[in-house]
């Protein structure tokens, strides 16, 4: 009770007072600082209370900075300048240390000053009348509908809006690029934001046209990246559009020649980007997104492409999302997927191809989950924030931290020592996942952390024979590709611009190249794999049944029973990692021959 009383109001710590005094060149004793702090808090409360009357008389529910300033002015205190914006300034959190700050974007004054066409900030105030209730009954007309205000936009803005939408949705790719670029950097289009958001929400009506969908997503991306726009409540609308592209069985996905996967990947990437940069504008957003993704994933009636979208969406939202939603759901989902994958009928070929897509996506997601788990378990990283926020780690941090735990493992002396504390949960998780994915999981881990040098043959055990054999054929390709897969999740998830990607990647690789840590990492998963002697055997039967019998390949071999012989194996091995690269940016693998279904 007393505790609560103490916290009835926000209190200013005396340290802050002392810091402020120091910055003004005054030394304060503890007592004075405490007294001052208390007085300042009281004055703040008083001013806040006084300011509420201005809010009430302005017929608002929200207290603004203006109200507060008025209260200050009337009590003869200097007003606080520079925060007069009507919109709330969102606080951003810094994870290290519980620190929140307001983003203060730099304004390019030169650009502002030299701008030639300065559009008016907002539309003219107008009064519109309509009969709401006739004889006390019925609503005749929706009141205050936003689009009706379009006509009240200034001509300049209207023109801009028309030009941009035309350019983006038109035929000229060059023009589109310019328009998107401008949309990304124009500081004066705040008034148009609702309209652009509205345009983006048009995805629902063009679901047959991949190209259009793509372009609309590009608009969304530009809007997100525009530093002058405060998305505010429009975040919701944008998210719903993007989620639509990620999750819905689009009309465009009926034709197998349409590469709607790329679109989904891109949309998932956008989803994570919106969330990371603007998620703080809408409370509870994270849970809502997770919930809808989970709903899709749990719905067996939905087509596989929807499931695929849900998986890449989760993957894009970070490994914690994967852990929370995908992982617990995997066992039930697996049964369905397995049924699809095991059906060899010709009519099922298309569905099965889709199934492989989903399989690949899940594989990538859980691999990353495992990796992050392993890192976390290694104890090197102060995992997440201490306050257990519902938001997972920012991916950027994941990217930076990629090499660190490995280093620790290597430097930590005995690999067993590093492993022992987290062994339990990680171990269980790994074992369970291994049950699903079999060797493909293990191999990808193994090679992913390997330098792109030829594989030294692992210590021979009978169980590992097939792996070694399969790896032999792919020896040239595998390490490189899986290495990139290991590095790719952070780069693709990261909302940061390409610049960052180029820096994070080499770092991760560089870390991976360092000698000494490799055996450690290797040991983690080897131990996991082989310590429980019974499990691998069992999972091998499930996952690697076909492979063991026919082609001595790995799990994926099961999908292509028509191929025989080592030649096919190697050919398949070339394609294999493609599954793992689903989250890669769209343009990279827009080339059709890389798509899996063409194999068939």
């Amino acid at each position: 009770m007393a505790e609560r009383e103490e916290r009835r109001f926000v209190e200013l710590p005396r340290e802050s007072v002392r810091l402020m005094a120091e910055s003004a060149g005054v030394e304060l004793s503890d007592e004075v600082a405490a007294l001052l702090a208390e007085d300042v808090c009281y004055r703040l409360r008083e001013a806040t209370q006084n300011s509420s009357q201005f809010m009430k008389h302005t017929r608002r529910r929200k207290l603004t900075v203006e109200d507060f300033n008025r209260a200050l002015r009337w009590s003869n205190v200097e007003a606080v300048c520079g925060y007069g914006s009507q919109d709330a300034l969102p606080f951003r959190a810094i994870k290290e240390g519980e620190l929140y700050f307001q983003e203060d974007r730099e304004v390019n004054l030169v650009e502002l000053a030299l701008a030639t066409n300065i559009p008016k900030g907002c539309a003219e105030t107008a009064v519109r009348v309509h009969v709401s209730y006739l004889d006390g009954k019925g609503n005749l007309e929706p009141q205050g509908a936003v689009p009706s205000a379009v006509s009240t936009l200034t001509d300049d803005l209207l023109k801009y809006y028309q030009h941009v939408t035309r350019a983006v949705l038109g035929d000229d790719p060059q023009l589109m690029k310019v328009a998107l670029q401008d949309l990304q950097s124009n500081s004066k289009i705040a008034a148009l934001l609702p309209y652009f958001v509205y345009v983006v929400s048009g995805v629902k009506s063009v679901s047959h046209d991949l190209e259009q969908l793509n372009r609309l997503l590009h608009i969304a991306r530009s809007l997100i990246q525009n530093p002058y726009l405060c998305l505010g409540s429009y975040v919701r609308s944008l998210i719903s559009s993007v989620m639509y592209c990620t999750l819905e069985p689009l009309a465009a996905s009926i034709n197998p020649l349409n590469d709607h996967w790329t679109l989904r990947d891109y949309a998932a990437m956008l989803l994570s980007r919106i969330f990371w940069t603007h998620g703080d504008l809408v409370s509870g957003l994270y849970h809502q997104i997770l919930l809808s993704l989970q709903k899709v994933l749990a719905d067996p009636v939905r087509p596989l492409c929807s499931h695929y979208g849900a998986v890449v969406g989760l993957h894009a939202l970070g490994w914690k999302a994967v852990e929370r939603v995908l992982y617990p759901h995997l066992s039930t989902y697996w049964a369905n997927l397995q049924a699809v994958l095991d059906d060899y009928s010709v009519s099922n070929a298309q569905v099965k191809a889709d199934g492989h897509k989903v399989y690949g996506a899940i594989l990538v997601a859980v691999e990353r989950l495992l990796k992050m788990k392993a890192q976390q378990a290694a104890g090197q990283q102060p995992e997440g924030s201490p306050r257990h926020s519902p938001r997972p780690d920012p991916p950027a941090e994941a990217g930076l931290g990629l090499g660190r735990p490995l280093l620790q493992l290597g430097g930590g002396g005995g690999p067993s020592a590093a492993l022992t504390p987290p062994a339990l949960s990680l171990h269980d998780m790994y074992r369970e996942l291994y049950d699903f994915f079999g060797d493909s999981l293990a191999a990808r881990f193994g090679t992913g952390l390997r330098p792109p040098a030829p594989l030294p043959p692992p210590p021979g055990t009978p169980e590992k024979e097939p792996l070694a054999f399969g790896g032999e054929g792919a020896a040239r390709k595998m390490p490189q590709l899986t290495a990139s897969a290991a590095a790719s999740p952070p780069e693709e998830e990261s909302p940061r611009p390409a610049l960052h990607r180029s820096t994070s990647l080499p770092r991760a690789r560089g870390a991976a190249r360092q000698p000494g840590h490799r055996p450690g990492a290797r040991d983690v998963f080897q131990k996991c794999r082989f310590a429980p002697r019974g499990a691998p055997r069992f999972s091998f039967v499930i996952a690697g049944r076909q492979a063991g019998r026919r082609c001595r390949g790995r799990l994926f071999q099961t999908s292509f029973p028509q191929h025989h012989g080592p030649g096919h194996v190697s050919r398949y091995a070339q394609k294999l990692p493609m599954i793992g690269r689903t989250a890669r940016p769209a343009r990279r693998w827009a080339r059709a021959e890389y798509s899996l279904h063409l194999l068939l």
Binding site: Y42, R59, T125, S233
Partner: protein, 792 residues
């Protein structure tokens, strides 16, 4: 000496009202504490007395305490007080000799007097070491006390005074300051007010006292418990403030913690303010605190309950609480049955308790003024209009109705010339005729026939719509905005035009028939006119009845009068100096009222730059103001959660309505002038019978502040608009139908409200996302609502 002799009449004024009577001897109780506070800072300049004071400190305080509560001791205490005050004064004036003489004289009266005389010093040394800050204020108080003392000694001290010429001179001074003291009494000085808390009780006992009383009340009979429970809140507040004032911070905190949960929920806002108050220094500028101190909290308690309380307190020797009851509370005792909890709850909630009964006894002329008879040419015009529309048949009955209506003299109406009203101009008469014609086509509203609602939505009002008004004939709408602009729109096809410039006007043929048309400048025609002039948000707007003027009031402390002929500002009325929250024209024009943050409402006439009346009495901001339809009264709603009715003629407050639990933001008189509807932040509409001064209804349903209230033209329907984005219609006829206005209710003010909100609610109408800021019934009873669309 003569001056002294003249003073007694003023003494009565200084002393608390003797006929308030019930607290046995308020004068006796008040001075000791006041004097104690006053002397505290004065102690240092009197080193001679200090040793003695320190020695006597302990029992001095005890003596002072003992003297305070006992009603029997009052004459002696009074004498002592006066002596103390005179001694103080002498000491301050460095009249040692006289002081000595007086003291010697005083000793003759009794030994204990010496101790009593010094007790303030002792108390000062003990308790108010930190009191240095308010030396200046205490001086004023000291003057007051000294003056009062000198005066009240009157003849008795005269002998003392004559004994020494020095004292005579000294005594001659205070009367001069007596006048000043009266002013101080009217506008209490801040620190003087505060220092009244400077009485020393054991801070650790406060909780005990309070819980003791609590136990007593909770164990008392049911019928008394509800009444006595009213004591909790004021006692709690005053005890808390006393603790804070005497710098027992931790005790104050634990006291608050322990008992704030017991208080009624409608005091939450005040409690929040209180809880932030933990330092003596903070009390100075705190308005809520001052409100508490400057006004006595009024409780209405039956005689039985009061006797019970009094006996208990005397038995328990609970002096601390008894002091508070005497000094800070006004207990309005009535004979008869104690009230029930519901009855009490309906009436309490305001900042200073309920209204005293006698506050609502004055006669109010709530009837309507007689409408002027229309003379023949106007009738012709009327007829002409009818002919134009080709319905001459209707003329007869309507004329009758007009005649009968205007001939009937309301017995409750004020004399026609009670306050001077402007002469009707020809254009006004024309308008009245129009009004009558429209009224003939008015829809008869009722539960079966609800009005249609038109919504005026302000789009793109990013700058914040703060006030709206619509002309009586619904031809123009004005919006006041937070960006200091006032925008006037024409809502008819007729555009707004201003008059031509002077040079152009001189060219016009003044004899022509359409001269009124010719003077308008066609070039300026537009749908919207923006009026710039204010330098703060515009909180209130009002059209004059003749539509030639517009009033706006703003945060910048001014009320501005705009011409709707030229669309320029004519006058800026300065007087409030603080934000002006509301303003309204009288229904007859010429006068207007404004109310603001300075806690007063002012009555102005458009041709005077100074206010004609200042209505002072509210304990917090005056948030809304409305004229009675007969223009003789003004209703004001305030943040102190009371509504007051003021007489324009003499500026008296004739009604105080308590019962709202939040600041009042809307008022509406019924068209017949008998009733008043008020809406507040608590989301309730209360209905009041003005003649009897009683609450007659409570309309619950809104979930947020009610910013707009309006009766339909014939008073059948009450419309309320709120922040919760709804307009609600209430059956006013039914609400006022069978009122319990028997003599008993009127005499006692005990009301029994029926729980019938749901029966009275005729409809709830949602907007999409638009808080309703203004409501208006057109002359044909179409309901117009207005507000700004808010996207969130």
């Amino acid at each position: 000496m003569a001056a002294v002799a003249e003073e007694p009449p003023e003494v009565a004024a200084v002393k608390p009202d003797p006929e308030a009577g019930t607290p046995p001897q308020p004068p006796a109780a008040a001075p000791p504490t006041a004097a104690a506070a006053a002397t505290a800072p004065a102690a240092p300049p009197a080193p001679a007395a200090e040793g003695e004071a320190a020695g006597n400190g302990g029992d001095a305080a005890a003596a002072a305490k003992a003297a305070a509560p006992g009603p029997a001791a009052s004459p002696a205490a009074l004498d002592r007080q006066t002596l103390v005050a005179v001694l103080q004064f002498l000491r301050r004036s460095n009249l040692r000799e006289s002081e000595e003489i007086l003291r010697r004289e005083a000793r003759l009266l009794g030994d204990d007097l010496g101790a009593a005389a010094l007790s303030p010093t002792g108390a000062g040394l003990l308790g108010a070491a930190g009191g240095e800050g308010d030396v200046g204020g205490s001086e004023a108080l000291l003057n007051r006390v000294t003056a009062a003392a000198a005066i009240s000694i009157g003849g008795s001290v005269a002998t003392v005074a004559s004994a020494s010429p020095g004292v005579a001179a000294a005594a001659a001074v205070p009367p001069g300051k007596g006048g000043g003291a009266l002013v101080v009494e009217d506008q209490p000085d801040v620190s003087a007010v505060l220092s009244a808390y400077n009485q020393q009780g054991d801070p650790t006992l406060y909780e005990e006292y309070y819980s003791g009383l609590k136990n007593f009340i909770e164990c008392s009979l049911d019928c008394h418990r509800a009444e006595l429970s009213q004591l909790f809140y004021p006692l709690f507040v005053h005890m808390y403030l006393e603790l804070v004032y005497n710098q027992h911070e931790s005790e104050a905190k634990s006291f608050f913690e322990r008992f704030h949960g017991d208080q009624e929920c409608y005091y939450q806002d005040d409690l929040r303010v209180l809880s932030s108050l933990t330092k003596k220094e903070h009390m100075k500028g705190n308005e809520t605190m001052l409100d508490f101190r400057t006004s006595k909290f009024v409780l209405r308690i039956s005689r039985d309950s009061y006797q019970l309380l009094k006996r208990h307190l005397q038995e328990k020797q609970n002096n601390q609480i008894w002091n508070i009851v005497q000094e800070h509370l006004y207990i309005d005792i009535f004979d008869g049955m104690p009230r029930s909890k519901q009855q009490i709850d309906a009436m309490v909630g305001s900042l200073a308790g309920e209204a005293k009964r006698e506050a609502n006894k004055a006669k109010v002329f709530f009837g309507l003024l007689k409408e002027p008879e229309f003379d023949v040419p106007l009738d012709d015009e009327d007829e002409e209009g009818e002919n134009e529309e080709g319905k001459p048949k209707k003329k007869k009955p309507k004329k009758d109705s007009v005649g009968s209506k205007s001939k009937k003299q309301d017995p409750n109406a004020p004399p026609q010339n009670r306050i001077p009203l402007p002469e009707l101009k020809d254009s006004d008469k024309l308008d009245k005729v129009m009004n009558v014609k429209e009224a003939a086509r008015r829809v008869r509203l009722g539960p079966e026939c609800l009005p249609s609602i038109c919504f005026y939505t302000f789009l793109n009002a990013y700058q914040g719509l703060t006030a709206v008004d619509i002309t009586d004939d619904s031809s123009m709408i004005v919006g006041g905005f937070a960006d200091s602009t006032v925008r006037v729109w024409s809502v008819t096809p007729k555009k707004l035009r201003s008059v031509k410039a002077a040079a152009d006007l001189s060219l016009i043929d003044k004899e022509s028939d359409d001269v009124l048309e010719r003077i308008m400048d066609e070039k300026t025609a537009s749908e919207l006119k923006i009026l710039y002039g204010h330098s703060g948000p515009v909180y209130g707007t009002s059209f004059s009845p003749d539509r030639n003027y517009l009033l706006s009031c703003s945060e910048d402390g001014t009320v501005r009068l705009w011409s709707l002929q030229t669309f320029t500002c004519l006058v800026g009325y300065k007087g409030h100096n603080y934000p002006v929250w509301d303003t309204q024209f009288s229904p007859y024009g010429y006068y207007f009222v404004s109310g603001g943050h300075d806690r007063v409402a002012r009555l102005w006439a458009t041709d005077h730059y100074q206010p004609l009346r200042i209505f002072a009495g509210h304990l917090a901001d005056v948030t809304c103001t409305r004229f009675h339809p007969n223009s003789n009264y003004i209703a004001t709603g305030s943040a102190d959660r009371t509504v007051r009715l003021w007489d324009v003629l003499n500026g008296n407050c004739v009604r105080i309505f308590t019962g709202h639990k939040g600041p009042i933001h809307s008022l509406a008189f019924s068209p017949n002038g008998r009733f008043l509807a008020t809406g507040a932040t608590d989301g309730r509409v209360l209905l009041w019978d003005i003649g009897h001064g009683l609450m007659v209804g409570e309309l619950k349903g809104h979930t947020d502040t009610i910013y707009a209230l309006r009766f339909s033209r014939d008073g059948e329907i009450l419309a309320s608009g709120s922040m919760d984005n709804t307009v609600r219609l209430w059956d006013a006829v039914k609400a006022f139908e069978d009122l319990e206005t028997d003599d008993f209710t009127t005499a006692t003010g005990h009301i029994n409200l029926p729980e019938n909100s749901q029966d009275l609610l005729l409809g709830t109408y949602m907007t999409k996302s638009t808080p309703v800021v203004h409501l208006h019934f057109t002359r044909r009873n179409l309901l117009l609502a207005a507000g700004a669309y808010s996207s969130q």
